[in-house]
C-alpha cells in the first residue's frame, strides 16, 4: 500500500498543480502551446535515444527465441508456424499476434492450490481482456482525436467515430471505447491496489501511469459527456499547433487545459518509464527471431576466443591411461 500511496500523493500534487495552472489565464499559452511542443519533442528524442542509442547500440549476440510450439524439422511433422516460427514471415506473424492481440498474455492461466492438495489451472483471462480493452481503446481514441488535428477531417477519424458511436446512446453519442477504456484501466488499477501479490510487486511507477491515464480519460469524458466544451475553438488551437502558428482562442474551458497538460505529461514521461514496452516489444529477442538456429548460423559480433582444453592437451594428460585401455592415440 505504501507505494500506491506514494504514487497517489505524487500524482495528486501533479494534478493539483495542473488544475491550478489551468485556471490562470496567463499560463494558457504555456499549457496550450509551449508544453505540447516540448512534450512531443521529449517523446521523439527520448524514444529515439532509448531505442537506437541504448538498446540498438547493444548487439543481439545469440539467437534465443522462446519456442512455444512444434519446431520445423522433419517434413511430415507440422510445425507451429506462428508460435515457433522458422521463417521471417512467421516471425512477422508472431510479432503481429504479440503486438495486436497480446498472444503471450492470452496464454495466462492462474495457478491455484486446491484442497487435496492439488494444483489447478483456471481463469487468468481477465488480465488479457483488460489489457486488450485498454490498449485498443486507447489507440482508437488517439486515432479519433485526429479529427482535431486534420482539416478537412481525415476519413479514418470520421469512420472510427461513426463505428465507435454505433449504438447512438445519448447526445453527444456515447463512444464504446470510452466505456472500455475506463473499465480496462479501472481493472488494471484495482487489481494492483487490492490483489496482495500485485500490490506487493507494484512500484510507484506502476500506479502513476494508470492514474495519469485514468485522469486523462476522465477529463476527456467530462468534456464530452458532462461539462461540454467549445469544440470549434479547440480545433483552432490544435490546427494552430500542427501548422506551427500556435494560437490559444478565448473561451476554452479550463478543463480542456487540464486534459491537454496531462497528455503532455504522459508524452514526456513515456521515454523514461516502463511505457517503453511499446517500442520495446518489437526488439524482444525471444520473440522477434526465427527459430532456425541450426539452419542459419547467427553471428555474434563480439565472439572472442576463449581458453579451451584442446584434444592434444587432453591426450597428453591422460596419455598412459588411454594407451593402457586400448583407445587410439594421435601421438602414441
Amino acid at each position: 500500500m505504501k507505494r500506491f500511496l506514494q504514487a497517489a500523493m505524487l500524482f495528486g500534487v501533479l494534478l493539483a498543480g495542473v488544475v491550478v495552472a489551468s485556471q490562470a489565464q496567463g499560463l494558457r499559452s504555456v499549457l496550450g502551446t509551449v508544453l505540447p511542443y516540448a512534450a512531443v519533442a521529449v517523446l521523439l528524442v527520448g524514444v529515439i535515444y532509448r531505442v537506437a542509442g541504448v538498446w540498438g547500440r547493444a548487439p543481439v549476440p545469440f539467437r534465443i527465441p522462446t519456442s512455444c510450439g512444434q519446431q520445423k524439422a522433419l517434413s511430415w511433422i507440422k510445425p507451429s508456424k506462428l508460435d515457433n516460427p522458422s521463417t521471417t514471415l512467421g516471425v512477422i506473424g508472431r510479432m503481429a499476434l504479440e503486438v495486436l492481440v497480446f498472444r503471450s498474455l492470452f496464454r495466462n492461466v492462474r495457478t491455484q492450490l486446491k484442497p487435496g492438495p492439488k494444483l489447478a489451472y483456471v481463469g487468468g483471462w481477465e488480465l488479457w481482456a483488460a489489457a486488450m480493452a485498454f490498449h485498443w481503446s486507447f489507440l482508437l481514441i488517439v486515432l479519433r482525436h485526429m479529427r482535431y488535428f486534420t482539416e478537412p477531417v481525415a476519413g479514418f477519424a470520421t469512420m472510427l467515430a461513426a463505428l465507435d458511436g454505433f449504438f447512438e446512446i445519448g447526445v453527444p453519442t456515447l463512444y464504446v471505447t470510452n466505456v472500455l477504456i475506463v473499465a480496462g484501466l479501472g481493472y488494471l488499477l484495482l487489481r494492483r491496489v487490492f490483489d496482495p501479490q500485485l500490490r506487493m510487486i507494484s512500484l510507484a511507477a506502476d500506479f502513476f501511469p494508470l492514474l495519469l491515464l485514468l485522469s486523462i480519460v476522465v477529463t476527456g469524458g467530462l468534456m464530452r459527456y458532462f461539462g461540454h466544451t467549445d469544440v470549434a475553438s479547440i480545433k483552432e488551437l490544435a490546427i494552430g499547433l500542427i501548422t506551427f502558428h500556435p494560437v490559444v482562442p478565448a473561451g476554452i474551458g479550463s478543463l480542456f487545459f487540464v486534459h491537454l497538460t496531462l497528455v503532455s505529461v504522459l508524452l514526456a514521461y513515456l521515454p523514461f518509464s516502463k511505457l517503453m514496452h511499446m517500442p520495446g516489444v518489437f526488439l524482444s529477442p525471444t520473440r522477434n527471431l526465427a527459430n532456425n538456429n541450426r539452419a542459419e548460423r547467427h553471428v555474434n559480433p563480439w565472439n572472442a576466443p576463449v581458453k579451451v582444453h584442446t584434444y592434444e592437451e587432453w591426450e597428453e594428460e591422460f596419455h598412459d591411461k588411454i594407451e593402457a585401455c586400448g583407445l587410439p592415440l594421435d601421438k602414441p
Binding site: 489451472y121 538456429n293 576463449v306 587432453w314
Partner: protein, 539 residues
Amino acid sequence: MSEKLPKPEELSTVDFRPVDYDWMTAKATFRKGTYSYQAAPKNLKYLGLANPREWSPIDDDWKLPDNWKTIILEGLRERLDKFRSLGLFMDICVRCGACADKCHFYIGSGDPKNMPVLRAELLRSVYRRYFTTTGKMFGALAGARELDVSLLKEWFYYFYQCTECRRCSVYCPYGIDTAEITMLGRELLTLVGCNINWVMEPVANCFRTGNHLGIQPHAFKDNIEFVRDELEEVTGIHIDPPINKKGAEVLFVTPSADVFASPAIYTLMGYMLLFHHIGLDYTFSAYASDGGNFGLFASHELMKRLNAKNYAEAKRLGVKWILGGECGHMWRVMHQYMATMNGPADFLEVPVSPVTGTRFEHARSTKMVHICEFTSDLIRHGKLKLDKSRNDHRVVTFHDSCNPARSVGILEEPRYVLRNVVNQFHEMPENTIREHTFCCGGGAGLGNDENMEMRLRGGMPRGHAVRHVRDAHGVNLLACICAIDKATLPALVDYWSPGVDVGGVHELVGNALVMEGENERTTDLRGDPMATSKGESDA
C-alpha cells in the same frame, strides 16, 4: 535425502498471499535444504576464475574482494553493452504479474522473490540505481536499491533458485526471459567468486576430462563396456561400441550420465541397440564425452569453453555430422549457442540419415541432429522392427524437458517415437506439458542433495501432474529426454507420486526393438519382467 524433509501434505500448504511483505527490504535467509553449497576453491582455481576461497553462504563474511562492488557494476555495464536482451529486459517490464504464478519455485515455495518478476527486480533495482536517471534521482521511490552485501546475498540465493527453464518467458507479453536474467546474474556473481559447487565442480571436471562426472578416458570406456555387457545379458546381442574411431560417419554425443548413472544407462542401452539395429557407422568420443554443458549455468564464457570440444572432436575424427542424445540443457546450447560460439562447422556435411536418406535441412548449418528427430525419421520410413507389446508392462506419460520444449520445440518427435514403441500412453494435463511444461526442479545446477527441499518444492507442479495421470490411468513410467530429469525426477516422483519410474524415450525404444539373433526377451532392459500376456499367447 535429508531426514527433516516435510511431508508432501505439509509442503503443499503454500501461502501465496503475502501480507506486509516488502521485497525491497526483505533479506534472503539461507535455510538448510533451500540453497546449494559454495564452490570449492580448487574448482575455481582450475578454471582460472575469480576469488577462490573457503567460505559458506551462511557465513556473515563472504570474503569478497575489496572492490567487489566496482567489479559487479563494471560487469553489469559491460553486459549491458554486449547483450541487448539485458538492457531491454531491465527497461520494459510493466510488472503485470502474468509470470508470477508460472514459476515452479514460486508455486512450490510461495516465496515472493521466486516470482520471475521479482527475481528480475533483484537485478533491475540495482540497474535503476546505477544506470538510470530516475533511479539515481529518486532512489527507492523509483524502485532503485543500493548494491550492498545483503543484496548480493539475495542475488546468490535467488539466482540459484531459478532453473533457467524459460516457462515464465512463454507467458510474458514482451518475452522477458528470466533464464537470460539469471544467466547474466550468475555471470556477475562469478566475477566475485560466488558460485555453487554443483555447477563449478562439473564445469571443472568437464573442462579437464571432457565430462561433468570427471570420468577419465579408460573409465569412460569401462563404463560403456559395462553397459554393453549388461545389455548382452538381457538381449544376447554383443555390441562393440566404437570410441574415438576416426573416419566414422557420425559422432554421437550424449550426456555423461547416460554412461554412468541409473536410470540413464538404460537409455544408453537403447541407443546402442538402435545403432546396431540399423548398422550405423558412428563413434563415441572419450574427449567429447559429455554433450551436457554446465557452463551454461555459470557464464557464456564457460559455456563456450566447454562446448568447443564438440566441433573440435568432430573435425579431428573426420566425421560427417553429429548426432546428439537425450538431454535438456545440452540441446539449448547445441541449438541456440554452439554454431554461433564455436562455428561455423563448414568442415562437416549437412546431416543425411544413412538409412533413410533423409536430409536434415533444419540442421544444415549446425550439423547436429537430435536423436528423437533421427529415430522418428527411421520409424516413419519403416526402418525399425518394433514390438510395442514388449512395453505393455509400462503405462507411459511424457515429461517435456524445459529446453527441448521451449528453446528448440522438440514436442512431436518424442511423442511419435513413444506412440510407436508403447501401447499405453497418456498425456499429463495440458497446462503442464509441451511449451507449458514444468521443470523437474533440479535443472541449472540445482539438482544437488543439500538443496532437496527446494527441489521438491519446485517439483511440486510436475509431481502433482504425474500423480494425476498415475491415479487416472495407472501411469507407471515417466518418460523424458533429459539427463538431469533422469537424475532428479526419481526423487521427485518418489516424493510426490510414489510408484512411478523415470526413464528415457530410447530405453523404451530399446525394449521394443526386435533385434536379429536376440534371445527371447523376458525382461526389459532394466531386468524387470515384461507383461506376461504376450508370452502366454505365444506359448
